[in-house]
């Protein structure tokens, strides 16, 4: 088996390319996905290969084109809708929650919505408050949606095909810090979107992360290893439904958990994970579950302020040290 070195961005592009080659029902639509090549250049070159009918530039009408994706999915297509960044998805929230997530139930199982919505998320590039949200937890709150968050090149390449095969709406979050990350890709086939992955095994504490925080958790685990603390790093991969089994098995081994989440602490995905551990692994816990989250502040522009607002490797290390003692 040959492996190739590629970037997260290219892996996403390859995933879309092969999906569109294999299934003529698949098409991409969004703001500047065609001529411009995608705000983050994910779809660069696809217009030339597939033409404007399948690589559709849309007006700045998030509600209309997300809703159009819903309608097209109902009518038998397999649309991929790209929302430039998570903040713009708020303009389409009506369509995502009131239609995509709801139609199947409200119609008594008649109207399924096999739609994939991709969007960029996360802070860290001095884009100030409106362009730096991390709202994955909001979407993970909604029954009827599946929410995934590829953190590796292999997942960027493999999750999309599985998401497109899913009969229900899937929201895929791509952290902006990942696009240029390089990694080895072996076969490039579909991967599951049901389970969390243990990215680094350990025995003393479980670090639970996803998307943009996986790399930080792995860095923290490296530092902790130097200090003699063995940290296990979990990449959630799928934020809804949560793979509780992997989480609980890990906590059953390490008896300590730190959740790392770029979302705000209050009402966050981290809160949900902490609650589930408390509910289901209470008697395995040798310390209270800790969370390393974003500060409760709109993300500021100035670099030092922004960095202070976001979970950092040092914060993770400190949280673990306070716990392991």
């Amino acid at each position: 088996m040959t492996t190739v070195r590629t970037t997260y961005r290219e892996a996403l592009r390859e995933a879309m390319r092969s999906a569109m080659r294999e299934d003529e029902r698949v098409f991409l639509m969004g703001e500047d996905v065609g001529r411009y090549g995608g705000c983050y250049a994910v779809s660069l070159g696809l217009l030339e290969e597939f033409g404007p009918d399948r690589i559709r530039d849309t007006p700045l009408s998030e509600s209309a084109f997300v809703g159009a994706g819903i309608g097209a999915a109902i009518a038998g297509m397999r649309p991929i809708v790209e929302i430039m960044t998570v903040n713009f998805s708020l303009l389409a929230l009506d369509q995502i929650l009131n239609n995509a997530a709801t139609l199947l139930h409200m119609s008594g199982g008649q109207i399924a919505v096999p739609l994939v919505i991709r969007m960029t998320t996360g802070a860290g590039r001095q884009l100030a408050a409106q362009h730096s949200h991390s709202l994955e937890g909001w979407y993970a709150h909604i029954p009827g949606l599946r929410v995934i968050s590829p953190a590796t090149v292999a997942d960027a390449r493999g999750m999309l095909a599985t998401a497109l095969a899913d009969p229900d709406p899937v929201i895929m979050f791509e952290h902006n810090s990942l696009y240029s990350v390089e990694g080895e890709l072996s076969d490039g086939g579909p991967v599951d979107i049901d389970t969390a992955a243990v990215r680094r095994p350990g025995t003393d504490v479980t670090l639970i992360s996803y998307g943009g925080t996986v790399a930080k958790a792995l860095d923290a685990a490296g530092e902790l290893a130097d200090a003699g603390i063995s940290a296990e790093v979990i990449d959630l991969r799928t934020l809804r439904p949560l793979d509780e089994r992997t989480l609980l098995e890990s906590v059953g081994r390490t008896h300590r958990a730190v959740v790392v989440d770029e979302g705000w602490r209050s009402g966050s995905l981290a809160a949900e994970i902490a609650a589930r551990i408390a509910e289901q692994a209470f008697y395995q816990l040798d310390a209270p579950v800790a969370r390393v989250c974003a500060a409760e502040v709109p993300v500021p522009y100035a670099a030092q302020l922004e960095q202070a607002a976001l979970p950092q490797v040092a914060d993770i290390v400190a949280a673990v040290r306070a716990m392991v003692g």
């Binding site: 098409f27 009918d53 849309t58 007006p59 009408s61 509600s63 209309a64 084109f65 997300v66 809703g67 159009a68 994706g69 819903i70 309608g71 097209a72 999915a73 109902i74 009518a75 038998g76 297509m77 649309p79 009506d94 369509q95 009131n98 239609n99 139609l103 199947l104 139930h105 409200m106 119609s107 008594g108 199982g109 008649q110 109207i111 399924a112 029954p143 009827g144 599946r146 009969p167 229900d168």
Partner: protein
């Protein structure tokens, strides 16, 4: 008058009467607490249901609003399934998950009552997009009210559908009130057909109390769309005789205004026209009423006896069931 005209008129009249009597029974059942939730009636607006839906073929798609009993019945949803849904029963059009506002029928491409004003428009655009991308000669009829025209989604969808020349028939059922807010109090420009035409799509202003006129214009619009024109827009001027949702005290409307519109009731209007043209006898009318009455009685009896969805199935239909 030709025989074809007589036949059309009879079908329009029958559809309108069917919707009217059905909803009248709904009022009774709601008052007796058999039907619950919000229930929005289209009594007075039946010419729109009868005329627009008649213009569509079986492969066309329909997206509707929370005031959709008439659209659903005219589209051919079985009355028993609609009534059972209002009763919240397992045999209902949406397995008791939707109620009055959310009637669905995938087979008939009836994509629901949507309770978000203008929320159905983007979906209609997408249905048309998919059909267009696959070269299917279908039209998606999208029904909404005058209130939706003030929403941002209206603008986004009119623009997108016109930009991409999608086969959507936008039908604005203008009953002059967004719940309690009069047209003049919510729109800077109250000529809605004119506004639609600014997107570069053909639009017609139609007397929505005249079933024949509605049927006529809708058929022409559908033909135009099938011919590749891109979307069309119908402004159907009509009036709801009853409250926004079941009952209200009508503080926002003038009694004289209601009375004036009631004198234009589309059902007697068409009835008189047909009598005058010797196309309808009292016996005919009594026969139609009797058939409809029987259909309603049967639907109510079936709904009363229908099983309820088991609570054990509460979480069904959140995600697709995989075998």
């Amino acid at each position: 008058m030709t025989t074809a005209d007589a036949k059309t008129r009879l079908e329009l009249l029958t559809t309108m009467l069917r919707v009217r009597r059905f909803e009248e029974r709904c009022v009774e059942l709601y008052s007796a607490e058999k039907i619950r939730g919000f229930m929005h009636l289209c009594i007075g607006e039946e010419a729109v249901s009868a005329g627009v839906l008649r213009a569509l073929g079986p492969l066309d798609a329909v997206v509707s609003t929370y005031r959709e009993h008439g659209h659903a019945l005219a589209r051919g949803l079985p009355m028993a399934a609609v009534m059972a849904e209002m009763f919240g029963r397992a045999t209902g059009a949406s397995h008791g998950r939707g109620g009055s506002m959310h009637l669905f029928d995938g087979e008939r491409r009836f994509y629901g009552g949507n309770a978000i004003v203008a929320g159905g428009l983007p979906v209609a655009v997408g249905l048309a997009l998919a059909d267009r991308m696959r070269d299917r000669p279908t039209v998606t009829a999208c029904l909404f009210g005058d209130g939706a025209v003030a929403e941002g989604e209206f603008h986004e969808c009119m623009n997108l559908a016109a930009l991409w020349r999608l086969p959507v028939l936008f039908c604005c059922e203008n009953n002059r009130y967004a719940m309690g807010t009069a047209l003049e109090r919510e729109h800077a420009v109250t000529d809605l057909a004119l506004r639609a035409s600014s997107y570069g799509m053909r639009s017609w202003a139609v007397d929505g109390m005249d079933a024949e006129a509605v049927a006529d214009v809708a058929a022409r619009a559908v033909d135009t769309i099938r011919g590749g024109s891109g979307p069309c827009f119908l402004e159907l001027s009509t009036y709801r005789f009853r409250a926004h949702s079941m009952y209200d005290s009508d503080r926002y409307r003038d009694k004289a205004e209601i009375g004036a519109w009631k004198r234009r009731d589309p059902i007697p209007a068409l009835t008189e026209l047909m009598r005058a043209a010797d196309q309808l006898t009292d016996e005919d009318l009594a026969g139609i009423e009797a058939t409809i009455g029987e259909e309603i009685d049967t639907a109510v009896a079936a709904a009363e006896q229908a099983p309820v969805e088991p609570v054990a199935d509460l979480t069904r239909f959140v995600y697709s069931e995989r075998t």
